[in-house]
């Protein structure tokens, strides 16, 4: 099953189902106009929320999301592909996570030479197992080795219990 729902000018989501799990891709800006009520029918099922294409979340969007998570208590939920802006919300507002499990996040690197930013996907399972997060990587744009982690690992992964 694949459905796309246009919710407003700034936000929409796409739902697909595979292997007994609903995968919900969130796209755009989560603000006071974001309406998740049509997803409540999935309560009790396995749900993955994919945040990769969320471009912004404002404080009213946080509240809307937290209230939505509250409605889904008891539902097995995982957050996948969380970009830095979603990780920031999880660290600032712990209830943003609700009872969900975070499966993967992106960590940001910025190149000192050319200012290029690239993100690396990290599995939270690997991180919990002791994966060492590289402080510097090679820039895919200018090939310099001065691409540094934009942030502090401890601060960034503070949401991991």
């Amino acid at each position: 099953m694949n459905t796309a729902e246009l919710l407003n000018d700034h936000f929409r989501f796409e739902v697909s189902t595979a292997e007994n799990r609903s995968h919900i891709k969130l796209i755009g800006i989560i603000d006071e106009n974001a309406d998740f009520s049509s997803l409540l029918k999935l309560k009790g099922q396995n749900i993955s929320f994919d945040f990769k294409d969320v471009s912004s979340i404002n404080s009213c969007g946080i509240r809307t999301w937290v209230n939505f998570m509250k409605e889904l208590i008891g539902t097995p939920i995982e957050f996948v592909e969380c970009p830095p802006l979603v990780v920031r919300q999880m660290n600032m507002v712990p209830s943003f996570l609700g009872s969900a499990i975070v499966t993967s996040v992106y960590i940001p690197y910025v190149c000192d030479e050319c200012d290029h930013e690239q993100q690396q996907k990290i599995s939270i399972k690997d991180y919990k197992s002791g994966l060492k997060i590289a402080q510097t990587i090679t820039c895919e744009k200018c090939s310099s080795n001065t691409m540094e982690l934009d942030g502090n690992v401890k601060q960034y992964f503070a949401f991991v219990k």
Binding site: I29, S59, C60, R88, V93, S95, V110, E117, G151
Partner: protein, 245 residues
């Protein structure tokens, strides 16, 4: 308070030392309106500027507020805010997918909505505009924005001509946002979520608020290029007084 006593206090409402954001928020909640987090303590140049301005009964003007190439725009409606945020972001030449862009644009959104929906009140004290409706401000209610970029970071300021933001209200914000880590962290009674200032405080390296009752509020922020919180380069200052151009 032991936290304060272990560091330097110049005035009853000021603290210098090295603080985490949570410690600083705790100080603000307990009445501290000037905090300079730096290993230099009282010798921190920004702290010196703050104390000199307090001595002169003036509002401090920090180096980034005098940036070269300062640009000014205004906001007059809620519907135009996302377009304006994009314009500012483009003018600042920050790449849309970067953390710096996210921090700056998120704070602009929070400061815009605070000014649009919460700054202007009716005669009975209730908020004039409803968050759930489109707002077009009157000519005397416009919101003024200044911004600039340097090699070290980005400066933005947002000024409204509303009711003003009394310090006790800020204390309450910080108390709720930092002491409550469950759903009570979020405001449910009002039209806003009550997280805007918290988001700005967490995102900016330096935050200054100037407020005058019935004349408005100016929020001025400096964002370092790097996203990692640096406890050696962070300040919060609240001034009650004249908002200077």
């Amino acid at each position: 308070m032991s936290l304060v006593q272990s560091r330097n206090i110049i005035l009853p409402t000021s603290a210098t030392g090295v603080f985490s954001k949570k410690e600083a928020a705790s100080l603000i909640a307990s009445g501290c309106s000037h905090i300079h987090s730096s290993q230099l303590g009282q010798r921190d140049p920004l702290a010196v500027m703050t104390y000199q301005s307090i001595d002169c009964h003036q509002t401090a003007c920090y180096p980034w507020e005098k940036s070269q190439g300062l640009q000014q725009v205004s906001l007059d409606s809620s519907n135009s805010r996302y377009t304006l945020i994009n314009q500012i972001s483009n003018s600042l030449q920050i790449k849309p997918t970067t953390q710096l862009c996210d921090r700056v644009t998120t704070c602009l959104e929070e400061l815009f909505t605070n000014s649009l929906f919460h700054a202007y009140h009716l005669a009975d004290g209730s908020e004039k505009y409803n968050r759930n409706e489109s707002v077009v401000l009157n000519a005397n209610e416009k919101i003024l924005i200044e911004f600039a970029r340097s090699s070290e970071g980005i400066f933005i300021s947002v000024r409204d001509f509303g009711e003003g933001l009394p310090f006790p209200k800020i204390q309450n914000y910080f108390r709720r946002c930092y002491e409550q880590r469950d759903q009570s962290q979020i405001e449910t009674k009002n039209s806003g979520a009550g997280l805007g200032l918290y988001v700005v405080f967490e995102s900016a390296s330096h935050l200054k608020i100037v407020s005058t009752l019935k004349q408005g509020t100016l929020v001025s922020c400096w964002f370092s290029k790097t996203s990692a919180f640096d406890p050696n380069y962070f300040s919060f200052n609240f001034f009650q007084g004249e908002i200077k151009k």
